[in-house]
Point group: C2
Chain length 449, copies 2
């Protein structure tokens, strides 16, 4: 009845991860914070298939992502793909339900796939916290998103000295480029260059501008000035003509965003950085990204406003803002700062309250009954299922991170009792089955639900 | 900066599902019960990539599953597949870590993919609760698994009258076939026929046996007798020779399983059914499946003992038992019995405690601060982000399932207060910012963490 036995590659496919219980705990620790922050901010969770039609991803021409898609053909000759990001699925879902009442505050924690070359720290899958608000045109939407981010950072022990939220506005960037004399047909390539500004030095930037025939000294000075600008006033100065005196709508947006953030009490986490471009489609206004203050890692999170998302997919536009926050860089940063729990093999990954152990096989039926009683009371019980030595049972209980061992031993059983040992204090006592639950509760071992 | 706009298919790929917030809530309701039952029984959660090497699935020759794999080739010419089930990944993980201390009690809730023909109620993906115990050879392992199943059914409102756990033992089946005179080389095809016994009538079964050249009247009588057997004694009678008087190890296993279940207090949920075969590889002893009592749906859950799993993948064998429990049939059954929550569009899918609403834009900074204070106290706040009418805010709060609305209105604000309306009782009062939190707590709106 058995097929051939062959040895297989026991590693997960290249660029992917197994989650053994300790790694799973670590992942859930992160996800729990994401979920709780989303809940506190009134966001509802959704999900979509990890496999989508490839067509959903091919429309954003000129982007890196199109080359990195895990695409394949199914047996019905449909072209499918493992989702590289969640936003297209979200757009598809919203277009399919035009009657959904707005605004929507939705979040998700999808696993996303990209076929990347395997460099240090890069993987081919990651989980990504997505938070999106649809139906709000004002910058209060962005402020809510940034408030959620700050709330998350504070919960996991990061301060404004550890991470920086850099904000900009796509339209402000365009206006400055226009004022600086960059021809409209060069906006895109100049933006692409600016997108790289933090990875290349000034000489390379200048070389890039020259190659694009941007050679005018004043134009270049303005572009460089913009990249250095950290305040609204400085940016205002770079705007030519009437815009220099009267605030443009884009400048007003940026100003309102900063004011809203200040009102929420998170102003000090933000700084202006006009080099933030965040990819090339999608965004129509605010853009932001979070980086570690020391600049050691890639961006932790990126987002902004994308009021034209739905029409990109054939739907009717709705004002929208959101962010994506991967599980890779934040974990690197937390590990670097010794803030990551469950990161050491000695940490018990267990979530067991009590180990129930019968010293002799004939007590196993009683052990079953005790386990059932405790579980019915909401207490997590790891019942030792085979005959083992007492020493093993206690070692096992420690490894599992249990708080107590309930042992069914000869002497106690003859008196209708069991032995209860509390592992943190080392105290032990004999108790009847009836008293067991109250003893456990006294010791702080309570139902979690 | 924008790519071409094309309308896309807004439906998810054939056979897959979107999870809008209400559907997501429903899914989480189910998963929460699975997770909580696993926790109560001392199981640790793990996960593996949804994409595995195709080689992991091709070894089980002769099974239906091999034809239903979503397989594809990546850009590095690797043959990959969307996992059709979790067990091969689990086997791979355990073989990769031979030093893991046994026993292991692990669970997972993976999404699994099969390319099935689209018949009613069938999908191409489902989530599957997997519970596995490795390192325990005794039937206490199976009893723990069945105990977890019963605990789950009780939690979601199903009784032993709604579902039946049918148990059998592969080796008992083989022994009966041997005793009945079925030649060893016909065990496999006869088992395959028996596997279908509940879908075909007796005439078809007899025809099938005849086609296999099983024509002896006594042999056929014994096979039919076995399929009708509901007690250990009846099965014992079907065993020929010494086995008729002395219990075989397989019969002892089945007996111990029933005794253990009785000791745990779940004996009445179980019945013997020798037609349970559960696929053709894997299982080496106990097999069980759960069906709705009326026989209206496919199997709800299936499992058993598979002591030779790891060697099937080139590893060293470890005794093991487990089950897989899909999210499809149980949801159909619960819906049929009106036991499924969040199944109606009128049910608020929200998890929001309080809606904060400023009647005039100038109060929005105060609204931001109030929201921050409440969130810091663990209360979920949906802040109204744009200028809206009061009527809209209350309608929105009801739709979101909120318990209270905090309104920043002209009159109250002029006195340094806000209006608090409790939606369940309809009571409202003016309170200062300082008093707000204690008022909410009095009304039962408390931090959830």
């Amino acid at each position: 009845m058995r097929a051939r036995n062959l040895s297989i590659d026991v590693q997960p496919p290249r660029g992917t991860r197994d989650f053994f219980p300790r790694q799973f705990k670590q992942r859930e620790w992160l996800f729990d914070h994401w979920r709780e922050v989303a809940r506190l901010h009134g966001f509802q969770q959704y999900d979509a298939p990890v496999v989508e039609s490839e067509a959903l991803y091919v429309r954003k021409a000129g982007e890196e992502i199109a080359d990195q898609i895990y695409a394949f053909q199914d047996k019905g000759n449909r072209r499918l793909a493992l989702r590289p990001e969640m936003t297209p699925s979200l757009a598809r879902m919203l277009i399919s339900r035009p009657a959904l009442p707005l605004p929507l505050k939705w979040f998700s924690i999808p696993q996303c796939w990209r076929y990347e070359r395997m460099t240090r720290g890069r993987r081919r899958e990651h989980f990504q916290w997505n938070m999106d608000i649809f139906g709000v045109s004002g910058t209060t939407a962005e402020v809510e998103l940034l408030a959620a981010l700050v709330s998350f950072f504070e919960r996991i022990g990061l301060s404004k000295h550890d991470v920086q939220i850099r904000v900009s506005n796509r339209k402000v960037l365009e206006e400055v480029l226009y004022a600086a004399g960059v021809p409209a047909d060069l906006f895109l390539p100049v933006c692409m260059l600016i997108d790289k500004a933090d990875k290349i030095d000034e000489a390379e930037l200048l070389k890039g501008l020259h190659e694009l025939a941007v050679t005018d000294a004043d134009t270049i000075a303005r572009i460089l000035g913009m990249l250095d600008a950290t305040g609204l006033e400085k940016i205002q100065q770079l705007l030519e003509g009437p815009a220099k005196r009267v605030k443009t709508p884009a400048m007003l947006q940026l100003e309102q965003l900063l004011e809203g953030a200040a009102a929420y009490g998170i102003g000090e986490w933000l700084s202006i950085d006009c080099s933030i471009v965040r990819g090339l489609s999608y965004y129509t206004g605010t853009v932001f990204e979070v980086r570690d203050s020391q600049g050691r890692f890639r961006a932790i999170c990126g987002g902004g406003r994308y009021d034209s998302l739905l029409s990109l997919y054939g739907g009717k536009d709705v004002p929208a803002a959101g962010f994506g926050f991967g599980d890779a860089v934040i974990v690197e940063l937390l590990r670097d700062k010794n803030l990551l729990p469950f990161d050491d093999d000695t940490e018990a990954a267990g979530s067991v309250d009590v180990v129930v152990f019968s010293q002799a096989p004939e007590f196993q039926p009683s052990a079953l009954q005790i386990s059932k009683t405790l579980r019915s009371a909401g207490i997590s019980v790891d019942l030792v299922l085979e005959h083992r030595k007492t020493k093993w049972a206690f070692k096992h209980a420690n490894r599992a991170g249990a708080s107590a061992v309930v042992m069914l031993a000869e002497e106690e059983m003859s008196q209708g009792q069991v032995l209860l040992k509390l592992l943190q204090t080392g105290t032990q006592c004999s108790v009847s089955n009836k008293e067991l639950l109250s003893h456990l509760k006294q010791a702080g071992i309570k139902p979690r639900l």
